[in-house]
């Protein structure tokens, strides 16, 4: 889940504005010729420039919250497993990285065993051991190193209250390293997705001797194809160079064409788009991993082939939706929820988020990718513009013949996925169905607190959910698993649904280690839950991002939706 601060949002907002500025002039048809340069095989060498808006803060494997080991982090930190670096759906699979395979489950997927490949070395030439991986996982529990993904605390046996290796050097008994190349994980429940979790950077090795705690991010010890030359301003400017100790032989996934990679963050999004589209000098060898096109570019690419040819389109598993809390009247009444589902006008919502090029209207909670188990369905068919009439009908049945007034909680961050633009679009749509919406805009933090705290959870609010790995599990689990209702912390089960049937089905699927079969079951479950109208899926964001003229070998997997810096070449 991305949580951008107000001002970075603001940057975005203006950014896009400026991007428009750039767009008109950036490049005319003259660039058509250069477009050819993009063809032809990629070669080693050169410097790749990454122009980003968001800095790579806390560049520490224990603190990073990535999916599939992240994009930039994946250049430094190899993990037990990693995502496949291929285009589209092919890029939605898990592959062995440091490990010889994606893991051997036993005791119906409660125990997972990995073996390291031979000859794996850190940048300093010392050997990578499983103890180092265990150590980093333990680090990720340390309060000094906050920020990482939470799953292991729930999954590993007896990890619930573990304080990390600094306060508690005994370490985690749930992880065994019988020898330097073997590591065994003991889970307190079956988790077929474990190989996918093992892609996260907490599964990267950190040599205890080199650990400097909170300062480790400044000089991390690389296990990947590149090593950190400098890390300025906490990830604002990263310079990476080839790690001589890394061998392509041991790494089936990463191509690592460029000799050096220069990651400049904190750039205005407009500047990024303008520089990429103009592609002057070094910018021809530049890409961005976090900045979408603005309307101006969108308007242009239709008429500008060469520019269009430099837009990478990706689909990250993410759904923005309207969440209900049935504990609050009138949302306890399914008819009311259905009425709203019918009344929603997804066109206005999509427009509010940048138009149809950057968003696909959503009717399913699961993202539109097979890996998640996407099964198309629309329990409340109302077309993209909604069906107010049908909604009115349902309201009458629900006992509100004269309409009703509800309150909708949203984030006040402008341009945000849960921001005011979307909220007003919904407000306007429901008006046609006779539903008066009171907007309850909360400042970002207040909003987070309010909607994710059971006690204060409002009846209806905007929410978004992203995949930590492409599978139905992390998508449906936190939202609909009754046992994941957190009463004294951040709760994401907005409906506070605790349906034994759903719970047991989730358990059943988690036991399945064949991801394909699992996916199908997840899809079915999604459809089943969808009928209860506990959420109204609104849209799935689409990533459209520019890359420089001389960029070759652009790979965009469905896993990240962003072009993979480990694969691109500048020569």
């Amino acid at each position: 889940m991305r949580h951008l601060s107000l001002s970075s949002r603001q940057l975005g907002v203006i950014a896009i504005g400026l991007a428009l500025a750039g767009g008109t002039v950036a490049c005319g048809p003259k660039n058509g010729a250069d477009a050819k340069a993009n063809d032809g095989a990629p070669h080693k060498g050169g410097t790749l420039y990454v122009l980003n808006n968001q800095p790579q803060t806390n560049f520490d494997p224990a603190r990073l919250y990535t999916t599939g080991g992240g994009n930039i982090p994946g250049l430094i930190y190899r993990t037990l497993t990693t995502r496949t670096r291929a285009n589209g759906a092919a890029g939605n699979k898990v592959a062995p990285d440091l490990a010889t395979d994606t893991g051997e489950p036993s005791k119906n997927a409660t125990v997972w065993t990995y073996h390291l490949k031979d000859g794996l070395k850190y940048q300093d030439g010392t050997a990578i051991t499983t103890a180092d991986i265990k150590y980093d996982i333990e680090r990720s529990f340390a309060p000094e190193l906050s920020g990482g993904a939470p799953y292991l605390r729930d999954w590993l046996v007896g990890a619930a209250d573990y304080q990390g290796p600094y306060k508690d050097p005994k370490g985690l008994s749930a992880i065994e390293t019988p020898d330097a190349k073997t590591i065994v994980f003991h889970l307190n429940k079956p988790e077929g997705d474990f190989p996918l979790l093992a892609t996260q950077t907490s599964f990267a090795p950190v040599p205890k001797a080199k650990d400097t705690g909170a300062k480790y991010a400044d000089h991390p010890v690389s296990s990947g194809p590149y090593e950190v030359v400098s890390n300025e301003n906490n990830g604002e400017h990263l310079v990476l160079k080839r790690n001589p100790e890394w061998s392509a032989a041991s790494d089936s996934q990463r191509k690592a064409y460029p000799d050096t990679i220069d990651v400049q963050s904190g750039l205005d999004q407009a500047v990024i788009n303008q520089r990429l589209s103009a592609g002057v000098g070094k910018d021809a060898d530049a890409v961005t991993t976090d900045t979408n096109l603005g309307p101006a570019e969108l308007a242009k690419i239709s008429g500008d082939k060469s520019l269009a040819s430099r837009v990478g389109t990706g689909h990250f598993g993410y759904t923005d939706y309207l969440a209900f809390n049935p504990k609050v009247k009138p949302f306890d009444n399914i008819k009311v929820r259905e009425a709203i589902a019918y009344a929603i006008n997804r066109t206005t919502v999509v427009n509010a988020q940048g138009g149809s090029s950057l968003n696909d209207p959503a009717t399913t909670f699961l993202p539109t990718q097979a890996a998640f188990g996407y099964t198309p369905y629309d329990p409340f068919p109302a077309g993209t513009t909604g069906d107010p009439a049908k909604a009115k009908e349902l309201l009458k049945e629900a006992g509100y013949p004269h309409g009703l007034t509800i309150s909708l909680t949203h984030d006040t961050d402008k341009g945000g996925e849960q921001g005011p633009e979307v909220a007003t679009a919904i407000q306007e749509a429901l008006k046609l169905a006779g539903i008066t919406v009171k907007l309850d805009g909360e400042e970002h933090n207040a909003y987070e607190d309010k909607v994710h705290t059971v006690k204060s959870e409002p009846g209806a609010f905007l929410a978004g959910w992203g995949a930590d790995w492409p599978s139905g599990g992390p998508f449906l689990g936190p939202i609909f698993d009754g046992r994941q209702i957190v009463t004294d912390g951040a709760n994401f089960n907005n409906a506070q649904l605790n349906d034994p049937a759903v719970n047991s089905e989730i358990d059943a699927i988690n036991k399945i280690t064949d991801l394909k079969t699992a996916a199908a079951r997840w899809g079915a479950l999604d459809k089943k839950i969808g009928a209860q109208a506990l959420t109204v899926p609104l849209y799935h964001p689409v990533y459209k991002r520019l890359f420089g003229k001389d960029i070759k070998n652009v790979v965009i997997s469905d896993w990240t939706g962003v072009l993979d810096v480990a694969q691109v070449a500048v020569k």
Partner: protein
């Protein structure tokens, strides 16, 4: 200029001391300044527009909230079809990209918010500032010291940051425009407090205040009868300067995305949205920008006018009371305005620190 030549003038102009700043005098002196008058007219018009917003919208036949998705090119980032941001017979000033809401309606309603907030904030600043300044000016060493330090703190506050922080603390249920006015008012009253204090201190040393003490008046009675009247001029003048800066501050807050709540429209809110779109739809940014500019300009020149009309500082700056009239007479309005404007920037900068 010397006493003679001046009092020679006085013969004609009638007397040495400052004439009472009666409404008539102010009006007489305002009338002669064309720019100020023009500003006044614009202000009146704006207020009328704000008050009659529903009427205007009704005449056009649009409202501020209805979406017109049909008029937007969704694939191209939801910018309006057609030229000038979708200007048409139905939508006189075009529509808002992303939503298709009518811009004319939103502009006229926006005037309500922007002016309302600014006026509210100004009133608050004047009240708080005057209270503090008066208390500090009249109080003893200790009170003065304490109050002045407090004032310093508020002058030092990074206004915008505190606005952001405060806006975060207040429950979202609170009516936003009122909140904005409150926050702006509560934060940047320091400069006016300083001005009032200085005025009071200056007045305090004058003989007629001593005379009033001799008359057996209590401090409060003296303050009420002798000091307050003389404060009206500077405070009015400064309020006229604060107001536009408040309009800008509101816009600034909205620009940072913490202004009024949707679907309410304010010029600042429109500007901040427009800054997202102005390249694809430049008409959209120019409208609120132009209006905001016109408004601030109008208030600024009007403030200048009032300043000349009330000329609060000239007297205190000139050694001989008689020089005041000479200055107003011999120096064109503009110059006199500026002699008072000296007071403005140091004060104004306090308001601007945040919004700069």
């Amino acid at each position: 200029m010397t006493v003679e030549t001046l009092s020679a003038l006085d013969g004609a102009a009638g007397g040495a001391a400052a004439p009472p700043a009666g409404a008539r005098q102010i009006w007489r002196r305002l009338r002669v300044q064309r720019a100020a008058l023009a500003g006044g007219v614009v202000i009146v018009l704006l207020v009328l527009v704000a008050l009659a917003a529903p009427l205007f919208a009704a005449v056009e036949g649009q409202d501020t909230t209805t979406y017109h998705s049909g008029l937007l090119n969704s694939a191209a980032g939801a910018v309006p079809y057609g030229s000038f941001g979708g200007v048409s017979a139905q939508h006189w000033l075009g529509i808002e990209p992303g939503t298709g809401r009518d811009l004319f309606a939103r502009l006229v309603y926006g005037a309500r918010t922007s002016l309302g907030v600014a006026i509210g904030a100004t009133v608050l600043q004047v009240l708080i500032g005057s209270a503090f300044g008066l208390a500090a000016g009249l109080g003893n060493r200790f009170a003065d010291g304490l109050l002045s330090r407090i004032t310093d703190v508020f002058v030092t506050l990074p206004a915008l940051v505190f606005a952001i922080a405060l806006l975060a603390v207040v429950p979202s249920g609170f009516p936003r425009p009122v909140l904005l006015a409150l926050v702006l008012g509560l934060i940047s009253w320091g400069s006016i407090a300083k001005i009032v204090r200085v005025q009071v201190l200056a007045q305090k040393s004058l003989d007629y205040v001593a005379a009033s003490r001799l008359a057996g008046s209590s401090t409060w009675r003296t303050a009420r009868r002798e000091l307050l009247p003389s404060l009206v001029a500077p405070v009015l003048t400064y309020a006229a300067i604060l107001l536009p800066s408040n309009i800008t501050s509101e816009a600034g807050l909205s620009f940072l995305g913490i202004g009024v709540n949707p679907p309410t429209s304010s010029w600042g809110q429109m500007l901040s949205t427009a800054s997202t779109w102005y390249q694809a739809d430049s008409a959209y940014v120019l409208l609120p920008a132009a209006l905001l500019f016109a408004t601030v300009l109008a208030f600024t020149v009007f403030a200048d006018g009032i300043r000349v009309a009330l000329d609060p500082r000239a007297a205190s700056r000139l050694r001989v009371g008689t020089k005041r009239r000479e200055r107003v007479a011999a120096v064109p309005a503009g110059a006199a305005a500026d002699t008072a404007a000296v007071a403005v920037p140091d004060a104004a900068s306090d308001d601007e620190d945040g919004t700069a």
